[in-house]
Amino acid sequence: MVLEEEIPKFADWIGPALVSYLFATGILAVVIAAVAWLVQSVLCGPLAAGDRVYRGVLSGIADLASMSPRRIWALARLAIQESLRRNVVVVLGLFALIVVFAGWFLDPTSVNPGRLYLGFILSATNMLVCLVVLILSVFSLPADIKAKAIQTVTTKPVRTGEIVLGRMLGFATVGTVLLALMGLVGWAFVVRSVRHGHTIEAADIVEIKAEDGAITGSEGRTSLDRGHRHRVEFAADGSGRTDTVQGHRHSITTSGESGSLRYEVGPPEGLLEARKPLRGRLRFLDREGRPSTKGISVGAEWSYRQYIEGGSLAAAIWTFSDISEGQFPEGLPLEMIVRVFRTYKGDIEKGIAGSVRVRNPTTGLQSDPFYFTAKEFTIDSLLLPRTLAATTADGGTRQVDLFRDIVSDGRVEVVLQCLEPAQYFGVAQADFYLRQGDGSFAANYAKSCLGIWFSMLLMTALGVMFSTFLAGPVALLATLSVVLVGQFREFIQRLFESQVSGDSSIVPGGGPIESLYRIVTQASITVDLDPSPAVSAMKTLDTFLLAPMRLGAGVFPSLSSLGTGDFLAGGFDIPADLLLAHGAETFGYLLAFFIVGAFCLRAREVAA
């Protein structure tokens, strides 16, 4: 799976994040107060406007402080009843329908069906839940205001904060229940979809004989089920297992007497897992063996993976820390995702050979290489055992102990090299890790649903906030715009940087006006426009247009960044630090949206 940024410890993250949050919300509060003052100044003069804004803020804070849980829950219940009246449960039927017919368009012969099913279910759940709460939340309050039912509520001792929070809570409850039900159905769907077995006929198994004629084991193949079959190998003691196909393998038990052996293929292993990786830090050596911060770019636009050249001294070196014998008593269970870039086709059926060595970061003592063949799109496993062979200075070989001789102060280096000249291995820091153990897949699935839950909460809060001062359809558009800007916030930030600095290599093609011009004139985005007053004016206008988008991109939440489906589908345990950070980020946004919503509704004449 792709992990572009290292996941920081929550304890290290929360301090700076809180400071940034307070700074951003402080600025936002000042801007809102200034806008309110300007509007009031037009109506009643600057002094009276100042007094109104000041009193409004004070009484607003007092209102927030005097909210009643009972009233909030009453309004939340009303929102729930309203949702039920709008037949929100229909969406469950729609989801069930999607699940029932998913089998028609999901390919069970894909490279990793587990990932496919999980990705599909999580996407469908996320989309439906977020869409439902969005529609409920943006139309509810405007409908109440239009139908004037709000007048019988606001003439009760109800604070605007209670109205906003009650609605957020009510719709969030509806969304939570929907998410829980969809999550359960989705879980059953995924587990049922990936579960399968194979049979092995005795006729398909042949014995493997050594040169001296001794039987060393047997091999063969399984039946073709779900669009795939496995190669199987049995040791001399009869224990067997399959190879890894479509991201899983099976263990096989043998029973019966020789001549009438029966094979029982176990359930798929490796499809629904929650690996707990211990990741290291990556550095590179160039083809001359000199340290380098980067590998080689092979021209891919996405520079996540760096490449090392085969048949040279180029290497990718991971340094793992906090390694202990108690943690890995059997040795280091290394798992690797290695991408291959071929400069010539070669034997396409055959993988590219590579080697892995472990090295003492202090003394430089390293083990002899472990050879492997890189397979695309699969995770290669390699157990680096306790006892390793190492070549001595005089060319001899000696046995070394992993923890006594190689691991130094809990640190160890793993060195990857590509062995075939003119071929390349592509790796990222997250691609090599030591498998510390496995978490519960069910718990991991629940954690992933938690990511959807965070998105759903934000969507609800955004919808309710906008509905406090906008009509339903406009609030819907505003919410979608915020989500969209948040979705592309990194791009917008880079685009703005490109626009301001004039460096078109950051994001080629320019801002919205320039892009439109290029589309109309069919000018390539890689070619700079000839300087002219019109082009200057266009670029200046683009900068002005991008400024609010840049501001929004810095403030608005990115719902996609809250998703943890990649971890789940990739078979990795979702780190608690990440969930805590997402939770804190969500709570921060919810608080801000709630306060803005409460003040906006308070400033509004609901009966005008």
């Binding site: 037009v42 109506l43 009484s59 209102d63 005097s66 009643s68 009972r70 009233r71 829950w73 009453a74 309004l75 219940r77 009303l78 009843q81 309203e82 009246r85 139908a147 004037k148 039912a149 709000i150 007048q151 019988t152 509520v153 606001t154 003439t155 009760k156 001792p157 109800v158 604070r159 004449e605 609901v606 009966a607 005008a608």
Partner: protein, 314 residues
């Protein structure tokens, strides 16, 4: 005829002993468009005081500013100038709502709730504990006569029934001040009478009632004081009997007077300088006639009502 009037913006009832509950000081409302331009002057500067225990009527034709005044007092809209004080607090102060009940012009309730749920919901908004909510809801449902329909969703209610549940929600907190916007709107004559009886009952229990109406008879029947608004401006303000009293006409009503005495009385009045003497039987109101017919029909089902025989005085 010449009616006694108290024209202008003179505030305050004759008996000024009561505590001032509602006060409007130079209160005005101008609706503006998006650009802040004046769109409509809904209420011109208004000064008003309403005291505890009064039934105060806001009277005027449609669009005269009655509902605007009420909304300003409730804090539903904000004044363009001046201030509205309720229980000594600004009308926009939410805490005043603890002591207020409000029945809007149309009963804007949540139609997917039934009567019990409606009252339970509004009870929760007053932070009432469950037992009290239940007790109040049961009593109010019985009071407005919706016992048999309390489990039906409000969308199935007739306009009169909706009005009844509306008044019930306005009274859920046993308010000190009740604001009723067109309380008899949509009610049949029986409902109208019951509403008026209820308003009078509220007064007898020490409540202050502000009601707006364009139905003159309703206002006349129940209000102690009225303000007449027209085109957003206060035209008349005072006690109902003061405003309606015809000072240069004397009325004597009696029962059991034989026909023969009429000439003698007429002669006596003429001797004292009285002019334009009218002696005859007074007529009742159509409302009283209708109520008598209904009562009589309910008392003697299947028989023609005796009301047609003509009302009797006394």
């Amino acid at each position: 005829m010449q009616a006694a009037s108290m024209a202008g913006n003179q505030a305050g009832p004759r008996d000024s002993a009561g505590e001032v509950i509602v006060e409007a000081r130079n209160l005005s409302k101008i609706y503006r468009d998006f650009w802040g331009r004046s769109k409509k002057v809904a209420l011109k500067p208004l000064d008003l005081e309403i005291r505890r225990g009064e039934i105060f009527g806001l009277l005027g034709p449609n669009g005269s500013g009655k509902t605007t005044t009420m909304k300003l007092l409730l804090g539903l809209i904000f004044p363009s100038s001046g201030e509205a004080l309720v229980f000594g607090r600004e009308a926009t102060d939410v805490s005043k709502n603890d002591r207020i009940g409000y029945l809007p012009e149309e009963t804007y309730l949540y139609k997917f709730l039934d009567a019990e749920e409606t009252l339970d919901f509004y009870g929760r908004l007053f932070d009432m504990p469950p037992e009290e909510r239940k007790r109040r809801a049961d009593a109010l449902i019985a009071m407005v006569g919706l016992g048999r329909d309390k489990k039906r969703q409000l969308k199935e209610y007739s306009k009169g029934m909706t009005r009844r549940i509306g008044i019930a929600q306005a009274l859920i907190n046993d308010p000190e001040l009740v604001l009723l916007d067109e309380p008899t709107s949509g009610l049949d004559p029986i409902g109208t009478r019951e509403m008026k009886d209820l308003i009078i009952d509220l007064k007898s229990r020490g409540k202050t009632v502000i009601m707006s109406s364009h139905l003159l008879a309703d206002v006349e029947d129940v209000c102690d004081r009225i303000a007449v608004l027209h085109q957003g401006e206060l035209k008349e303000l005072g006690r109902v009997e003061d405003l309606l009293r015809v000072t240069d006409v004397t009325q004597i009503r009696t029962t059991g007077l034989p026909e023969a005495a009429h000439a003698e009385i007429r002669e006596l009045i003429r001797r004292h300088g009285g002019e334009n003497v009218e002696i005859g039987n007074p007529t009742t109101t159509l409302e009283d006639l209708f109520l008598e017919v209904v009562r009589d029909t309910e008392a003697r089902p299947g028989r023609r009502a005796r009301a047609g025989e003509g009302p009797r005085g006394g």
